[in-house]
């Protein structure tokens, strides 16, 4: 989330086309929160529970596969309702693309995007972290559950904590969200989602088979304005499909969250959100610019 980069895109493409994925994403995130909050606050139960396990419209169980995995390694075999819910969620993200969760559903993204926006506004030079480090955190969460026999990650899991903030009025989750905001603001650029969050790393592992991908049908039009790199929360995923003309013009790096911000901010319409295999032009037709 870089407040500066969209100006050029807005001039080139108009407000809607330069912001639409961002706005749709915000709409999706707010809808998720609203569906959890409407029950306790208005008595209209759409989603009951939180993002570790919930019940949609009193019929469809949903549960987070990583949470169930922790429960299993901690020594409990979850009941059928939880397993069915986990299978539904896993199937959806396997089919569509795992890290859609991170950018379209997870409420923590609102906080980390706010930190990112503030960081750009204040022009704070912060180092990017190691994007592979998150897999170690994921392993640590599972080992921790196995070693203690408890879902220790849930002590600090900001995802469920933030749902609790809005459903049950729990205030302690705000500490974790504040900590993440500060961490992302001055210590690491997009540090929480990009280098630490074990839920994000789990969904990145699931992200390999998804149907939706960011495609680059017009990469030869790239004029190196760097807007996509500045806007992308995982900028390391862009370089190869954009610059390596031998590579397929599709972002296949599982760290891509499919947030669509690159599509928005590119004034040259290099990117699009599309299917994994679209009958696209063969590789040879890509022009090599002098």
């Amino acid at each position: 989330m870089n407040p500066g980069v969209s100006q050029k895109a807005i001039q080139a493409k108009g407000f809607w086309r330069a912001q639409r994925w961002l706005l749709l994403r915000r709409l999706s995130q707010v809808l998720v929160l609203a569906m959890f909050a409407s029950g306790p606050w208005l008595g209209v139960w759409i989603l009951k529970g939180n993002l570790s396990a919930s019940l949609l419209l009193d019929t469809v169980p949903l549960s987070d596969p990583l949470t169930l995995l922790q429960s299993m390694v901690a020594g409990h075999w979850p009941a059928t309702m939880a397993l069915v819910g986990g299978a539904i969620v896993l199937a959806i993200y396997l089919l569509l693309g795992g890290r859609l969760f991170c950018s379209w559903v997870c409420p923590v993204n609102l906080v980390t995007d706010a930190a990112s926006w503030t960081r750009h506004r204040l022009n704070l030079p912060t180092r990017p972290g190691n994007p592979k480090g998150r897999y170690a955190v994921l392993a640590g969460v599972l080992l921790g559950a196995a070693a203690t026999g408890s879902l220790v990650w849930e002590w600090v899991n900001p995802i469920t904590l933030s749902i609790r903030v809005i459903t049950l009025g729990s205030l302690t989750g705000l500490w974790m969200l504040l900590a993440i905001f500060l961490f992302d603001l001055v210590i690491r650029r997009d540090g929480w989602c990009g280098t630490l969050c074990p839920v994000g790393s789990f969904y990145a592992l699931v992200n390999r088979f998804g149907w939706l991908k960011i495609r680059l049908p017009a990469r030869e039009k790239c004029d190196d304005c760097m807007a996509c790199y500045k806007a992308c929360p995982e900028p390391q995923v862009i370089k190869i499909p954009l610059k390596d003309i031998g590579a397929e013009p599709v972002i296949r790096d599982p760290a891509c969250t499919l947030c669509g911000r690159c599509v928005d901010v590119c004034p040259e319409n290099v990117f699009e959100i599309g299917s994994r295999r679209k009958a696209s032009e063969p590789l040879q037709t890509v022009e090599i610019k002098p």
Binding site: K48, G49, A53, P78, G85, T160, L161, L171
Partner: protein
């Protein structure tokens, strides 16, 4: 190619770097202090005895089974249940209740157990009278009004299993020599630990409290034989 140059005033890179690094160190120190501070606050947390909802598995198993989704909390019609917070003595996000504040109302259909997706609240519990959330203990025999010789009887009257879980045992009042004492007596084989007695106790601080069964009850060594029960069995 980018040709436009940002019309910015000249910056002093060394100064900027020093400020940014200072902020980084300050934030790192702040975050560390925050988490260590939370831990120390946890030590100070009190707030009575925390109980698990009906049907909860034994504590080590419960911590592995409960996914902290809070559906039992949302389905509790009496707002008895809440989720433990950072500073609670029990694991964050797990369901708890404080009987002195809101006791379990012993719903016959047990909606909290039905809501649980993982089996952390055992679905085999179908009769709420079989729940064992804890056991009531007359912890303060010095201030209980009944033991002082009055006829308060409130804990006995509110017990959903009156005359089974709590009975009034008649003793002679040795202080006056001529009055009776009606001692509220809990029977652990029947008490569900719902906490209505603790909630209703008229004292400023309840004299009867529901404690987790592990905390309240002793356990005989396996080598002890109770002769009169042995005879019954044979």
């Amino acid at each position: 190619m980018r040709t436009r140059r940002d019309p910015k005033p000249p910056v002093n890179p060394a100064r900027r770097k020093a400020i940014a690094q200072g902020m980084q160190y300050a934030c790192a120190a702040g975050l560390t202090t925050l988490f260590l501070g939370l831990q120390s606050q946890k030590g100070k947390a009190s707030g009575g005895v925390w109980l698990r909802p009906p049907g909860a598995l034994e504590e080590p198993d419960f911590l592995a089974a409960c996914v902290r989704c809070g559906r039992c909390v949302e389905d509790c019609p009496w707002d008895t249940l809440g989720l433990a917070e950072f500073l609670s003595p029990l694991a964050t996000g797990t369901p708890v209740f404080n009987a002195r504040k809101v006791p379990c109302e012993m719903c016959e259909d047990i909606p909290c157990v039905k809501a649980c997706p993982t089996g952390a609240l055992d679905p085999e519990l179908t009769d709420i009278n079989e729940a064992r959330m804890g056991v009531a203990v007359l912890t303060d025999r010095e201030n209980c009004l009944n033991l002082l010789g009055l006829r308060c009887d409130v804990c006995y009257r509110v017990c959903p299993l009156i005359d089974e879980a709590i009975t009034l045992e008649l003793h002679r009042n040795v202080r006056t020599g001529k009055h009776a004492i009606f001692e509220p007596t809990v029977h652990s084989d029947v008490c569900t630990g719902c906490g209505k007695c603790e909630h209703a106790c008229v004292l400023e601080e309840a004299a009867i409290k529901v404690l987790p069964r592990k905390s309240a009850q002793g356990e005989l060594g396996a080598h002890y034989r109770i002769s009169w029960e042995q005879e019954d069995a044979s």
